[in-house]
Symmetry: D2
Subunit: 338 residues, 4 copies
């Protein structure tokens, strides 16, 4: 059984997912593509030797008779439209983050999906599929360290992406992965957020605040601290420590060769998120394909995308108010808890 | 040359320092002692075979002709009186924390010392003498990781001392060591404090809030987080990580034998502050003896004791207000900066 | 393009490879199977929903018109016959270790393959495909630690497989993986071997010598020590350290969650080779499929299988002679070096 | 009570011990010194402000009425004479390694001491006093890892001392510390030795063999491997791993600040034995002083010095014979076992 997929957006990330599905994963085939740059879409079809139609618009991909499921990797602001169209067409859709550029947009997707009566939407939060986060979750579930009380997380990039990276994007773009994965790890929800702006590094744009420290509180009262430091220079470094009632547990470091040389015992630190999460992407898409073929949807849902959007908004508000801001969410609809 | 010392207070900690001076360190001799419990003072003289007079009061110890320097290890509320009396007598005095039980008391000691025109007071903040903190400070001074931006510290005890330990003591009693050592490490001062009360552990007294997270901000804008968790169960664990502009540096773990056994690779964690800082006490007292014999005073000063007291007060205030509270200090007198 | 594979031997490991090819890897399909136990072969076809013929003999699988490549996972003593038959049929064959149960058998395979004029045989030494060994090899190739002088390797199992495990099997069965992967790591060959029998553990069969220490010397004079300890109790543990002229490099530990609990800082050690090398098997077979489809053969060759067999024989001889025994090999035929 | 000490040999190491006793340790005083270079002896007395007589010969130091105990830190070949003279004078003597330059010389000291009827001699094997070796010994004594079966040890120096360092000195000079400390760690004796000469590093004198691998076997059958690599470039590195029936235990690494910087997570490696064992020297001498004042002798004995000398000789013989050479020792006299 092969899942026939249409891909909207064949830029860097879209192309990577197409390659993944075509050359690495089982059970799926890309049969339709679209990109605002039609030549690029054609080039991908040619380069990867796809048996796929190039369509003039994303909506045409969604509506194409041969397309059974949709992947949205186009420009962020177009996500909402394509996800809604997929729901309208009754087709499962995998949407890279953000689900929509506003929380309101996410909420409309949630409503449309509930209306459709069937889970169709998965959002591209790949950390839930990362081996090390899953190892950590198993330790928590085994109750090895008792009930979690505090989480200390770190999200460091060597340099922020050039020119158009604003300080707020560290909160709304980088840290969305933490916002999602920590809820999943703890099976809990956020109730408030505070943002601290420590002394700025001089090794970035003058106008950029970097680092930030984001403090979240959950319903259970768990205190979460996330350091976001997008110009830390030394590498791409993701850390997560859970402090429980009887012990602590940390995300494992990526494996690296320990070397003794020149008066140092050292191991390597990665420098890109791509190397860090490359395997997680494979697992994410294989599980999505498998679940979709079974008629299920098991990954991060539209509701999860909505919660992350609301959290990001509260985060930006807290940054400028300097206060602890509430994160107000309606009760999670039964639709998503069953 | 031998420094003749009078010790006021021969309880557990006083006795330990007497043993240290008598059997382990060079250049000093205990010649006078006092304790509210005279029999206990006599027992120490006998057990340790001291050639020392037992005096009826602390003040008599201070005033005894043969006493050249004083160690105050009596009950906290008596410290202020004995330190002031030592200053009045023109004798160097080493006072275990707290310098005084109120910030106002500390301030009066500062004023008396300035009045006396000579540094006489050292406060018992032993972490500055700990090998691992000194290693960390050297890494910072070598500019290995650039300017510090964030500090993440942890102060965990397996269990809080019985009955009379109140939640606020975690702030004013345990964390005073962090308050002192971090200022020294960074060569900076605090400007504000916030206290977060995370979800409580169930493994302690119902009335106790545990853990706390203390957030400090320094003049340079450095953000400091101190987790105080006095019932963490698993051990006595002191951690300190500095995040700088180009890297991070951590306090080394105490050395321990790595063992592979029963499907675990493990090393031991200490369970008592005594084991953790036993060497630091030796260094602290040896350096105090040596400096005192040279007519100098090089350790934590009365001013440092005062700053810590003010910080502790602001901390308690912040805990109950739930707000970011300022830590207001006068400029450090020239007397202490020269 | 799909490689049509016939599998001979559908026991535990055969079944696992069938599942791997069918459900996980790309580009191949199992179309024919055989097992001495025909019912078992039929059960695998049914359970895994294969579209595959069950043949009455291994040779029939090899000769079946639809079979393009063969996997031999039958009982060790049958390997030689099936590999030779595959060569005779001009079909690529992947053979689990041992290639043949005698060095002479391996040599005949080598000769048959050379005669056939085309590389057809790959032996199942999966460590070359393990991520951590590849990381280590990259460090060596980058000349980070200078020329290798000494290797210290450890091969520990928690318990030896029951009843029929003889002491010599530790040398000829377990350590064959080291024999293969170290030659590959160093791009060198062995010239002599010595076997040391240390004090025996009491935690195994009285008749079993365990552990052994195998000392190998290479043409370049590199000294290799391999500890084989198949009843080490604590876990499955594979270690490899290279000492070079300017530094050392170690195989990374498998990633595991660091936990602080009950006075220990610990991380987990695996207890089975299956968990340790599960990913290596995937990579091994995917690369074999891909290469075979391209008409190439890139993994461990028949020659490698022969060298390992000769090394194992010398090893057993050295164990009983107590002397340093030469490992005598003809020059590697050009056929295998091109 | 103060132990009055005479020091013979005021070169680098002698001066260091004089400073240690005078400024750091308790209970002893240097009252007499001698050096072949009288001016140097006088300079030490002056520089360290000793109240000590400078004698014209070592024997005069030993015989001086005020001298209660002797430290021998003169040129190696003179040790035997001074130790024998101290025994003759009935005075406790601490002798830096070697006890004598020949095993025969050591044996005569053993006999003289037995004749004298009282333990007077301690040899300067400081590793027994090192905190990390003591931690390791406690783990073994607690039976945490079962009976020891194999030891893997490493002795690496960044560079061999200049010009006059011969390859054999790596065996007889550097590794004597391993020879002593491992017997003590295991409470066992050696029965044979083999020396392997791996591929040579090019980063040392052409004539020097470096590294060596020394293989020892104990009475209990424990297999010990010691890598001696005196030009390893990267640092001074002492490692010791014990493989027991149920687990393994390693010597802890010296504590060092873990730093994340420039794509590396690293900690420092020392570059000199002085930094590595500086604390061990303090403990060694304090315990010697304390024991001597009590009329006891608790450290490494003349017998231990003799065993190490015999082991070193067998080691050199094994290097040149290429064979496993026996280490033949008489039974340890009761004098030393009580």
């Amino acid at each position: 059984m092969t899942l026939k997929i249409g891909v909207i957006g064949t830029g860097a990330i879209g192309k990577e997912h197409i390659r993944r599905i075509t050359h690495k994963l089982k059970g799926a085939q890309v049969v339709a593509v679209n990109d605002v740059n039609t030549e690029q879409a054609q080039a991908v079809v040619r380069d990867e030797a796809l048996q796929a139609e190039v369509y003039a618009s994303g909506v045409e991909v969604i509506q194409a008779a041969e397309v059974e499921a949709v992947i949205v990797t186009s420009w962020g602001p177009t996500h909402e439209e394509f996800v809604l169209a997929s729901i309208a067409a009754g087709k499962p859709v995998f949407c890279e983050k953000p689900l929509a550029v506003t929380a309101e947009g996410c909420r409309q997707i949630v409503e449309a999906e509930i209306e459709a009566g069937r889970k169709l939407v998965q959002v591209g939060f790949m950390r839930r599929f990362d081996h090390s986060y899953r190892q950590l979750k198993r330790v928590l579930e085994a109750d090895t360290i008792g009930a979690p009380l505090i989480l200390n997380c770190v999200h460091r990039n060597p340099q922020s992406p050039s020119s158009d990276f604003s300080g707020d994007m560290a909160l709304t773009d980088s840290c969305v992965h933490e916002f999602d994965v920590l809820r999943w790890l703890l099976d809990d929800d956020y109730v408030s957020v505070q943002v601290i702006q420590p002394r700025k590094t001089r090794l970035c744009d003058d106008e950029l605040q970097d680092p930030h420290v984001i403090l979240l509180r959950t319903r259970q009262g768990i205190h979460i601290s996330i350091e976001s430091f997008v110009n830390c220079q030394y590498g791409y470094d993701i850390q997560c420590q859970v402090v429980g009632e009887t012990g602590t547990a940390n995300l494992p470091e990526p494996p690296s060769v320990p070397v003794r040389h020149a008066a140092k015992l050292s191991s390597g630190i990665l420098d890109s998120w791509k190397d860090r999460f490359i395997d997680a992407f494979d697992v994410e898409f294989q599980e999505w394909i498998d679940a979709t073929l079974r008629g299920e949807m098991t990954g991060p849902s539209a509701w999860d995308g909505y919660v992350v959007a609301v959290t990001g908004d509260a985060c930006v508000k807290a940054k400028y108010s300097g206060r602890i801001e509430p994160i107000e969410l309606p009760e999670c609809p039964d639709f998503y808890t069953n």
